[in-house]
């Protein structure tokens, strides 16, 4: 597509974003290494941690994406009242603070949870959530919504014409899957797998809470330990390098996956009526099971916290305001990052890899590195909020790029020729071709970023001082002061703010048709 000149601004803008990200990731690591003294070596326990980390991340990714396939397909082809609301709600676990989500999950699947009570009532053995199965289940709980959303966008981009063709040719479910859905999945699924794998790679609290003991130690936990207990910066950096290595291998595998291009662009015609009969029953089953799995725990979180919402202390509301401010700044930064890298990524592959690289890095190392760098310059606590916003934006970027890059490339493949033939200026190309096709995924991406920023405890714990606490930190503090009921109230507030922000930003950017 060389015939279409790239606007001159894109390259420097993308380079600037790249520099920020590289500095954030490598700079932080370098800072930690610089402060480290003595040689660091990996211990036998670290290799166990490495194995557990990879196994749980791979399992979590596989289960999340495989389960997401029937759910995304059912949601893509069925229309029912409240469908959009359901899709929005089902995204909630992903943006929940880990502790809140785990509490909800335990209420359903825990030792005294509904499932086990039902099993006990039937005279059956209780099942344990603790161990590898619990870690994977919790990760699926968090990442199934993301996987569904990513796959859903893939389904939305299957041209209606193809579905009509399938129907006209009398494709059975198998042929339709193999010939129409599979090609789409081979393009979308590797990204989803990689994203979930990388998210779970740096998992820390889930593995620790539900892992059942030191056998479930992840690398991120080992890093935490190195920082906190041994104050062994060298070992922390070494472990972070190992973790990044695993992540880069995963990214490399993703890079080698051949992404077949589809040439057909649809005309946005309405899809034909979906198949009935067994397919209908299975779709219904997929949707209701996913909704139950994802929404019942949320319902419990709400039911528990709602009564305590009214008597939350004033400081919690101040923290909520601060969280919203951080989210706003973070979303602005994310918008800049995403737009620059998406536009640059139309012609090159590195912006994608670079964006994903933020997932490879250890949040702990980034936070500590930034602290080391900033400490001599300013009092870290004075920049706690902007730094949190920046790190949140970098952490959300991989998801944003997964959402915007594939449709951007597809749009470019379909219409760049037309744009060139008509001589659209870069501005007109952006306004008339890319923006209408990309605003929905961009809205999704930024909504996600905003919500993640609200729910994330983030690096603020390393920088924090009185007067800068965000809502997740306020919740943490309530729990630390035996105020678990008030903390449950804050959980509801967090849930409402995260979801509300997500919906608001997605609609604002994505327009009325967002979230379909």
């Amino acid at each position: 597509m060389r015939w279409h000149a790239e606007p001159r601004l894109i390259k420097p803008a993308a380079a600037l974003v790249a520099a920020v990200l590289v500095l954030l990731n490598l700079g932080a690591l370098a800072a930690v290494l610089w402060r480290a003294d003595g040689e660091a070596t990996l211990q036998p326990a670290d290799w166990v941690a490495l194995r557990f980390t990879v196994v749980q991340a791979a399992l979590s990714a596989l289960v999340s994406v495989v389960l997401a396939v029937p759910v995304a397909r059912a949601l893509a082809r069925r229309r029912f009242p409240g469908r959009r609301l359901l899709i929005a709600l089902m995204g909630a676990p992903f943006i929940l603070p880990v502790l809140v989500a785990i509490a909800g999950l335990l209420a359903v699947l825990g030792r005294n949870g509904m499932v086990n009570d039902a099993l006990a009532a039937l005279g059956l053995d209780r099942v344990s959530l603790y161990g590898l199965q619990g870690v994977v289940l919790a990760h699926v709980f968090f990442n199934l919504p993301l996987s569904v959303r990513l796959l859903l966008q893939g389904w939305a981009r299957i041209p209606a014409e193809h579905l009509r063709l399938a129907q006209a040719l009398g494709f059975g479910a198998r042929a339709r899957f193999r010939l129409i859905e599979m090609p789409m999945l081979t393009r979308i699924a590797p990204g989803a797998l990689a994203a979930v794998f990388l998210i779970c790679l740096t998992s820390f609290a889930v593995a620790l809470m539900l892992g059942g003991g030191p056998a479930a130690t992840t690398l991120e936990l080992a890093i935490y330990q190195a920082f906190r207990f041994d104050f062994d910066l060298g070992r922390a950096a070494l472990l972070a390098l190992v973790q990044a290595g695993v992540g880069l291998v995963a990214l490399g595998v993703l890079g080698f996956v051949r992404l077949p291009a589809t040439r057909q662009a649809g005309l946005d015609r309405l899809a034909p009526a979906p198949p009935g009969g067994l397919a209908r029953v299975l779709d219904l089953l997929a949707i209701s099971m996913a909704a139950t799995f994802l929404l019942v725990p949320l319902g419990v979180v709400i039911a528990r916290g709602l009564p305590h919402l009214a008597d939350l202390p004033a400081s919690v509301w101040a923290a909520a305001g601060r969280s919203l401010g951080v989210a706003a700044l973070s979303t602005l930064l994310l918008a800049g990052f995403t737009v620059a890298l998406t536009l640059a990524g139309l012609r090159r592959r590195w912006p994608e890899g670079l964006g994903m690289a933020a997932l490879v890095a250890s949040p702990l190392v980034i936070g500590t590195g930034l602290f080391i760098v900033l400490n001599p310059l300013v009092a870290p606590s004075t920049v706690a909020l902007p730094v949190t916003a920046l790190v949140n934006a970098a952490m959300a970027l991989p998801f944003a790029l997964r959402a915007t890059l594939p449709p951007a490339r597809q749009t470019e493949a379909d219409f760049a020729r037309l744009s060139a033939a008509l001589g659209l200026s870069p501005g007109a190309h952006l306004r008339l071709i890319l923006w209408p096709r990309l605003r929905a995924p961009l809205g999704f991406a930024l909504g996600l970023g905003a919500a993640l920023s609200i729910g994330d405890l983030g690096v603020i714990v390393l920088f924090g001082q009185t007067g800068t606490e965000t809502l997740p930190l306020a919740m943490q503090r309530l729990m630390g002061a035996y105020r678990s009921e008030a903390a449950q109230g804050v959980a509801v507030l967090l849930l409402a703010l995260a979801l509300g922000t997500f919906v608001l930003v997605e609609r604002l950017i994505g327009g009325r048709d967002a979230g379909a």
């Binding site: 335990l106 825990g110 005294n112 003991g213 906190r228 104050f231 503090r477 002061a481």
Partner: protein, 329 residues
């Protein structure tokens, strides 16, 4: 109207001038100390009423995070006083050379002798397993009882939390060379290991586990703040390990007098009377008004176990390996 605005402006200028001359004391402490429900706000008000200074708290996670933060900042730290380390951390803190002797020797009400020249206790507590007395009428009376029971317990990770490390030291202090065997016995009883105290306690309150590693003082919170007498701490015959929380003066402080004044203030009634119902620990010096009523109902373990800081540091890594091997089944 104009005159009052002018007056307000002048007042503003004069308070700013006054602020500029007010010395600032930076106290680095753990997160729950400075929260609205912790001792922080009251301590700040009480100390500022007598010091003519501005007391500023800087918070980081828990005790271990406080130490990590200080080590990270090194000699550049703003902190004048570090408050919230415990005896399992003080050896490492002392070795950093970042602390100066406090030069104070107040009379303390500790179940152990105290003569540390660098660190001064402000509160203490016994680690204990807390349970719901309506569900467990006969709680285990020792580690071996617990091993023989079918109860589930939640503990904190010694690598990421001070209570977790405390339990490690508790088993070590009580059983010495037999500690590995105790851990192997405990392994089936341990439901899960959480990153910190609040997660573990939350799991317990939600009924996930029968017992949780906490403090003998935890039931006092439920009794006093919630009027709930269903929580108790199990008394173990081996004795209970002590957590003694301390503060120390940073050697490089630019406010040595103020820092020392704060440490002296710390063992007075004004500070100590705040502790029981905010930090839910025993004050290092019993206030003249005595302890709140609920505290009388708490168990009083004996003997009190405590490894000296150097022994605790030396025991840490081998004990951690023991723990890991026993639990990584």
């Amino acid at each position: 109207m104009t005159r009052s605005i002018l007056a307000a402006g002048l007042l503003c200028v004069s308070t700013q001038a006054a602020l500029a001359e007010t010395p600032i004391l930076h106290v680095l402490t753990y997160d729950s100390f400075v929260s609205d429900w912790g001792p922080g706000p009251q301590v700040e008000a009480a100390f500022e009423a007598q010091c003519g200074c501005d007391l500023v708290f800087d918070a980081a996670g828990d005790g271990a995070a406080v130490l990590a933060r200080l080590l990270l900042e090194g000699t550049r730290t703003d902190a004048d006083v570090v408050l919230g380390l415990d005896t399992n951390l003080t050896a490492q803190a002392a070795a950093s050379g970042l602390f100066a002797p406090h030069g104070l020797s107040p009379a303390l009400d500790l179940p152990a002798d105290w003569s540390d020249p660098l660190f001064l206790p402000f509160d203490w507590g016994w680690f204990a397993f807390v349970y719901d007395n309506t569900r467990i009428p006969d709680p285990p009376a020792s580690f071996r009882d617990l091993i023989a029971s079918d109860l589930s317990v939640v503990i904190e990770d010694p690598r990421s939390s001070t209570p977790g490390l405390g339990l490690l030291m508790w088993v070590k202090a009580a059983y010495g060379d037999e500690s590995a065997e105790i851990w192997r016995g405990l392994a089936p009883r341990i439901l899960t290991v959480t990153p910190g105290w609040s997660e573990a306690y939350d799991l317990f309150l939600n009924g996930e586990a029968d017992m949780v590693l906490s403090y003998t003082t935890s039931p006092a919170y439920h009794l006093i703040a919630e009027g709930d007498a269903t929580k108790s701490a199990a008394q173990f015959s081996e004795g209970h390990y002590l957590q003694v929380e301390v503060a120390g003066m940073v050697a490089g402080t630019d406010q040595p007098d103020l820092a020392r004044q704060f440490l002296a203030f710390m063992t007075t009634d004004a500070f100590q009377s705040i502790i029981p119902e905010t930090n839910w620990m025993y004050p290092a010096v019993t206030p003249t008004a005595g302890l709140p009523d609920g505290f009388a109902t708490l168990i009083h373990p004996a003997p009190s176990l405590l490894l000296p800081p150097d022994a605790a540091l030396a025991a840490r890594d081998p004990a951690l390996d023991e723990w890991r091997n026993a639990l990584a089944r």
